[in-house]
Structures are given as structure tokens and as C-alpha cells.
């Protein structure tokens, strides 16, 4: 919901594309329309707005910086929120060029608005986060289900909650959470503050929380990772730059950024 950077380049982009049209018109006698279109397609110097899942905040901030370095003149504005929120905003006509969501179901909700098929760029795995001092002495998912242990998960309505329910079922563990939060960051917050004894969050969340929490692997979760798809949107004002950003995220530089943030290979 928070725009990491404010859009300022949209007007410039419109002016630039207007200028390109003018150039194409005036140079009509000298260059063929195909050549003009080709040169415009190759220029990756527009402004795009990327809507990305909240869990991608650190990685995509880094990624956008690298993209701008690789393509001088290009400008990336980032908007991070829960995947579901982003899909709703795009459905209501928010001016986005690229969507990166935290699960394939959410991406499926905006299928009609995509410019191309989504590409999987990363995977993420649930892990059990416990406060640094691990007051309840938790070592496994079964411990988190013990009576008296305060375990917090995401609600089933959001991707991390659906994943948590699946992990619980495949592990044969009947979790009775004291709270079902609306977002994975709320779950993490309850663990870092010490209110909860344990919480099911993503590996990348545990890593970003630093020393405040410890991560405990859940084997059943590792077997069923969540996939993060990314796609350019049909309504983009700069389809070339939008698609280039998607390719950049799926390419070597993008993958190395995502890997160092703790995401798995797609």
C-alpha cells in the first residue's frame, strides 16, 4: 500500500512517447514505419510502475536499482502490498505496468489484464519463526501445536495461510492458533514482539527479521514451496520497458538478488 517512490516520471514518459511519434511522423519519408517502431521498441528508457508482493520489498527495491543502472533513463516506481490488494487495485484500474505476486492463484485473478503469460521468478518456503530466546522451547511443528503454546498463523484467506493449512495437513499436525492474521508481516510482528511463541512465516521473513527471531525448518513445508509469478500488464504505457523488467527479474541479475534475499529458484 505504500509507494516506495513517488511517481514523477509518468508525464515525462508521455512527453517522450509523444516526441517519438512526432519524430516518426516527420521522418516518415526517410524511415519506414517498421524501422521507427523497432527503434522505439529497443529503447528501454521509460518509466514503469511495478506492483509487487509485500514479501518482495527488500529484494525488488534492490532489483529496481540494478535495473535502472543497467538501463540509463529508465525509472521504476515500486508499490508494495499484499498480493490480493494489488490484484484488486489492478482490477479497479490502478496504473501498473508489472505485477509480481506471492502466489499463482492471485495472478490468476488478473489473467485477462496480462500482456503475456506470467513467468515464475522465485519460490518461498514456510518456516517456523520463534522469538530469539524461544521461551516455549519449540523444535518442530508438533511442538507448536502443543496445548498452551501460542502459535500464530495467517488466515486461510491469504496465501501464507493457505500454505500454512496445507503444511499442517501434510504433517498431520492439528494447529490451534491463538490468532489468524491477515498478513504474514502481522504474524512476524507477533513473534518479534514476543507475544507469540511461534508463527508460520516465510523463510525470507525470518531472514529479514534478523536476530529478533530464529527459524526452525519444517520438512513438510520444504516439499511444497510457494511460487512467485511476475508478468507485464496489458494496460502498460510502456510495454517494452515493462517486459524488459520482467525479463530482468527472471534473468541472472534478478535471480541473484532474489537468491541472496533467501528466495528459492523457480
Amino acid at each position: 500500500m505504500s509507494g516506495a517512490r513517488l511517481t514523477s516520471g509518468r508525464g515525462i514518459a508521455a512527453a517522450a512517447s509523444g516526441a517519438a511519434v512526432l519524430l516518426a511522423l516527420t521522418g516518415c519519408g526517410a524511415t519506414s514505419p517498421d524501422a521507427a517502431a523497432g527503434s522505439e521498441g529497443n529503447a528501454i528508457d521509460g518509466s514503469i510502475t511495478v506492483f509487487a508482493a509485500a514479501s518482495l520489498t527488500a529484494a525488488f527495491t534492490d532489483l529496481a536499482g540494478q535495473f535502472e543502472e543497467a538501463h540509463p533513463g529508465a525509472e521504476v516506481t515500486l508499490n508494495f502490498a499484499g498480493s490480493s490488494d494489488l490484484a484488486t487495485q489492478i482490477g479497479e484500474g490502478a496504473p501498473a505496468d508489472v505485477l509480481a505476486s506471492a502466489d499463482t492463484d492471485t495472478m490468476g485473478r488478473v489473467t485477462d489484464l496480462l500482456a503475456a503469460d506470467p513467468v515464475a521468478v522465485a519460490t518461498n518456503t514456510l518456516q517456523l519463526a520463534v522469538p530469539a530466546d524461544n521461551p516455549a522451547g519449540i523444535t518442530s511443528l508438533a511442538d507448536a501445536a502443543r496445548p498452551g503454546v501460542r502459535t500464530v498463523v495467517c488466515a486461510r484467506q491469504v496465501p501464507c495461510g493457505a500454505a500454512a493449512a496445507a503444511v499442517g495437513e501434510s504433517a498431520g499436525v492439528d494447529l490451534t492458533p491463538v490468532s489468524e492474521e491477515s498478513s504474514v508481516t502481522d504474524v512476524l510482528g507477533k513473534v518479534t514482539s514476543g507475544e507469540a511463541d511461534a508463527g508460520l512465516v516465510y523463510v525470507t521473513d525470518v531472514r529479514s527479521a534478523g536476530d529478533a527471531v530464529r527459524g526452525i525448518d519444517v520438512p513438510e513445508a520444504a516439499r511444497a514451496p510457494t511460487t512467485y509469478p511476475i508478468a507485464a500488464l496489458a494496460g502498460s504505457g510502456d510495454p517494452a520497458t515493462a517486459q524488459e523488467f520482467v525479463d530482468f527479474a527472471a534473468g541472472p541479475s534478478g535471480q541473484s538478488v532474489l537468491r541472496s534475499a533467501g528466495f528459492g529458484a523457480p
Binding site: R150, V152, Q157, S179, E180, G189, S193, G194, E195, A196
Partner: protein
Amino acid sequence: MTASSPNAARLPRWVVALAVVGSLFVILPVVAMALRVDWPQFIPLITSESATAALLLSLRTSLTATALCVLVGVPMALVLARTSFRGQRLLRSLVLLPLVLPPVVGGIALLYTFGRRGLLGGSLSALGVEIAFTTTAVVLSQAFVALPFLVLSLEGALRTVGTRYEAVGATLGAGRWTVLRRITLPLVLPALVSGAVLSFARALGEFGATLTFAGSLQGTTRTLPLEVYLQRETDPDAAVALSFILVLVAVAVVGVAHRVRPLGDLAPRAASREAARP
């Protein structure tokens, strides 16, 4: 609001125009939401198991929070309006803080007070009282944000009615408790009612502090605003229907608060008659 009415003629036209824009700014979003409500499915949507649980929990906690606000808010307003002491102005500013504080900040503050590792949390745990993730946490969050509404409206009313009748009552031999019970409180009853109604509305709408401090579990801590927030993820129709219920409650509350005048014209006379009775 129409330019043809006699009162509007005294105002520059642009003032009226801006007032119309401002009114539309408030009214249009509510209309836009009403248009999105799936009316044929409205009743099933608002009577689903999770919606009913959220509604009942919201009503229960908001009423408890309002009672709590009245219990401590009336004495607070009396102390602020009828006494003077060093640091009173500072105290008043601090007490009204939750009114202007973002609720999520209130939630964090409550967490660091009543949370397991909070200022009081440790002592409470030792006494066997656990607040985190309980309905008590919801009530505390609601009371925290709602209290200033009651204190503010009641203190204002107490200052407006003045102390004349109280002084007269005292000279006629009424004790402090009698003066408070027979004169002061009846005088400010309308303000007390409207303050309590506003507190109830604020408690009902509480979201940020509850989310931060109490958690979200059906029937225990997931109040109506939290249910709306969650349903929005997968079932926008249910979220809109539930939102509309909160709008209806808000309209009813505003109506009641307006109807009960902060200070009725007849109240002082009626109260003084009663006080003058032997």
C-alpha cells in the same frame, strides 16, 4: 445547500459551491459503496457464521468498552472541569492523545504496556492474567481510542453549565455526593449520552490497535472491521456487505448524537427545581 434558499443568498456563491464539493466528497464514496452491495445476497452475506460471530463480538466488546469509558471517563471529566492543579493542562493534552494518535501507534503502545514483555505484562502474567490474544485485549484497544470522546464532550458540557447550581445546592446543605448526583450529572446528562454514543461508535470502528495488539481469531478477537479486512482478500462481496452494516450503524449513531443536544435548554431549570426540593 441550494443557492435559492434565503440563508445561502448571504454567502458568496463560491463558498456554496465549495460546500457542495465538500459534501459530495463525503457522500459519494458511501453511495459508490452502496451501489456495489450485492443486494439479493445481502442477507446471506451478513448472516454467515463468520460474519455473525464478528458482529456479536463487536457489539459485546464495544458495549463493554463504552461502560469502561463511562466508569473512568466521567470522573476524569469532573476532575478536569471542576478542579485546578499544577500540570492540569498537560494532563488534559495527554489524555486526549489517543484522539489524534494513529490507532496502530496506540496498538504498539498498548503492546508495550500490557504485552507479555510489556511494562505491566510481566506483573500481570505473574498474577495469572494473560491479556494478549484475548477478548480483553480487544476491549482495552477500543476503550483506549474511545475514552477521549467521552471525556472531551463531558468536560466541555461541565464547563458550559458552570457551577452556579452546584453552589446553590451546597449552600442549601447538600453534600458533595448529593450535589454530584442530583445537580451536576443531571445537568450534563445529554452530553454524557452523546459522549457515550460517540465512544461506542469509535470502539465499534476500532481496527488498528486491535490488529496490532489483540490479534485476529473468529469469536475471540476478530471484530467486524477485522472481518471486513480479511474477507476483502477473497470475498469482496461479503466485505462490502459487512462494510455497509458499519455505515448503517455510523449513520444511526450520528443521528442519535445529534438528537441529544449537548446541553438541553430545559435541563438546568428542571435540575434546579429538583435540587431545590427539600
